[in-house]
């Protein structure tokens, strides 16, 4: 089996993310390194489980971005992927999913992948577009929100269950090659192993200059960004921990959630 996993390096969503001066894009905390999009960890783990079950299997990991994204490829190899590929392009602001999908598809065509995995979406843009778009460029069937996957190399097919609203699941069978976008919770992503990390750091990454590929302009743009509206009173409790505890207790008693003594 030959599997490609698409991963993205994203700013930690728990870190400080602020609107930039021109309200055109955001500034992420420069002291916090980019990390692997959580959903992609599930996608990679699913590929690693297939590799364990069916030998020989080769896993390539691909990302689109600047050199800042490389630690994410190294981490992927530390988890067990075989090769890391970076489509080098500078990232200033919003990166259009349609451009990313186009670039990945351009580098993937004719490489003979049986399966392509992505996370269900990226934590930064929450768009969920790259996977289905790659599949369309490569004319292969795809399924999103996959919560169960059983690959059958002999039958050259994959059985998947997709998570639908209200806990329902759509069950379908796709012929290979196919692309799946993986939902969180499908597995427990492993931690990288030390020995694999050491090997990964010594192994060269494949670099593809996006400038050498056919150019694709984004068809949508971000006009401006801001902070979300607050829908409630949003009373922030101040003071020491003991003071905050006392305030909260007072509020909950006042509203009769806790009985008055």
């Amino acid at each position: 089996m030959k599997i490609l996993v698409c991963v993205k390096a994203v700013p930690d969503p728990e870190s400080l993310i602020t609107v930039n001066d021109h309200e055109k894009w955001v500034n992420a905390d420069p002291s916090v390194p980019l990390r692997m999009n959580r959903f992609d960890e599930f996608a990679l783990e699913e590929a690693l489980l297939i590799k364990q079950a069916f030998s020989p299997t080769v896993i390539d990991v691909i990302t689109v971005g600047s050199a800042e994204s490389e630690p994410v490829l190294v981490r992927s190899m530390g988890m067990g992927a075989d090769h890391g590929i970076r489509i080098a392009c500078e990232r200033n602001g919003y990166m259009s999913p349609s451009v990313v999908a186009f670039l990945i598809a351009a580098c993937t065509k004719g490489k003979g992948y049986d399966l392509i995995f992505t996370g269900i979406m990226a934590e930064d843009d929450l768009s969920g577009q790259v996977g289905p778009m790659i599949a369309e460029h490569l004319s292969m069937p795809h399924a999103t929100s996959v919560v169960l996957e059983k690959t059958s190399p002999e039958k050259k097919s994959v059985y998947v269950e997709r998570e639908m609203e209200g806990g329902q699941r759509d069950c379908l069978e796709l012929p290979l090659p196919a692309l799946l976008t993986i939902q969180s919770g499908i597995n427990r992503p492993r931690y990288p192993s030390l020995s694999k990390m050491l090997r990964a750091k010594a192994q060269p990454l494949e670099l593809i200059d996006a400038g050498r590929l056919e150019r694709r302009e984004p068809q949508e743009e971000v006009l401006r960004v801001g902070y979300p509206q607050k829908s409630r009173s949003r009373k922030v409790l101040q003071g020491s921990r003991q003071e905050k505890v006392a305030r909260l207790l007072g509020i909950l008693v006042e509203r009769s959630f806790i009985k008055r003594a």
Binding site: V26, L126, M133, C171, L172, P175, S184, R188, R241
Partner: protein, 328 residues
């Protein structure tokens, strides 16, 4: 060519889903800005009856695409049928639900149509630059206004953001039915499995204390249960991440893929507040949020915000509560 707005209805075996009426309302907002007619497309087999139902409830023009054997949604069929039909009317906007069916085909359809794609749209606004759409980035910490630079744009609308169109008052819209050949498909739809009946204690609870990734480890779940024990008729819930990590049972998951809850009091402990979670709990009577990150989106829907480490705050709160009981 005349500009138009197309809504692609969502249904499951003839049962129209609520998001379709939110899409119809969204299309009306868009229509007020664009002055273009709205058509609702519905795909299926049989399609006439459900098309009629839609035309009556929305008062809109409905186009039914009857494809033999298309009983349930499949990505390939939707891509093929919409990809064949839409270029004939070359709409300015194609409005699709941001649900597990919509986000499945919309991006691929956009590629097929050479259209722009903006997913998880929350609203529409008119700016000097033209018509633009709001959506969230960075797990809801940032909102952005986006616009399209090309003639056709595929949009997916986030459920729960637009008040649905009230069915009924208008005259039924005209209906046309197109019969097409059944599209050939590589993949095979097997079935839609229903949820295994597992009752959740969340639906009955008046107070829900929910745990998120900020709990940091499974051992800390006991803190959340102890906090919940202070209230009568309470239950413990969890965010998707907490359930994925196995800290909280899946049937106790609050959010779009779990349970939607409206307790009198909701206490969010270490939950950042992804949109899928907020949709599932923002209707609660009173919301208290505890999180170390002062910019966590959960604070935007909270009545009381506590920026603190819950592993220290909750024990301190329980202790203060118990002291109070002793003193009384």
């Amino acid at each position: 060519m005349e500009r138009s707005i197309v809504v692609v209805a969502e249904h499951f075996q003839g049962e129209i889903t609520p998001i379709t009426y939110e899409l119809a309302a969204f299309a009306r907002q868009l229509q007020q800005l664009l002055a273009a007619p709205v058509k609702i497309l519905i795909l299926g087999d049989p399609v006439r009856e459900v098309a009629q139902d839609l035309a009556e409830k929305t008062g809109r023009e409905v186009v039914g695409i009857q494809a033999p054997g298309l009983r349930s949604y499949t990505c390939e069929a939707y891509k093929k049928l919409l990809g064949d039909f839409l270029p004939k009317i070359s709409p300015s906007y194609v409005c699709v639900p941001h649900t597990s069916t919509g986000w499945d085909y919309a991006p691929a359809l956009a590629v097929r149509l050479g259209a722009a794609c903006i997913t998880a749209v929350e609203g529409v606004v008119r700016l000097n630059e033209g018509i633009a759409f709001t959506r969230s980035f960075f797990n809801g910490k940032i909102t952005a206004v986006m616009t399209s630079k090309v003639q056709t744009t595929v949009l997916t609308l986030q459920p729960g953001k637009i008040r649905p169109l009230e069915p009924g008052s208008a005259r039924p819209g005209p209906i046309t039915i197109h019969s097409v050949e059944s599209p050939s498909q590589l993949s095979r739809f097997i079935e839609r499995k229903q949820r295994r009946e597992q009752s959740s204690s969340l639906t009955e609870a008046e107070v829900i204390v929910s745990a998120g990734k900020g709990l940091r480890k499974k051992e800390n779940v006991s803190l959340v249960s102890r906090l919940a024990d202070l209230f009568s008729r309470s239950a413990v819930g969890g965010s998707r991440s907490a359930c994925d990590l196995g800290w909280i049972e899946h049937r106790q998951q609050v959010g779009t893929t779990g349970v939607t809850v409206t307790p009198k009091l909701y206490v969010a402990c270490g939950i950042s507040g992804a949109f899928q979670h907020l949709v599932g709990m923002s209707g609660s009577g009173f919301i208290v949020a505890i999180n170390t990150d002062p910019n966590a989106p959960i604070f935007n829907v909270a009545d009381v915000c506590i920026v603190d480490d819950l592993t220290a705050f909750i024990p301190a709160f329980i202790e203060a509560y118990e002291r109070r009981l002793m003193a009384s």
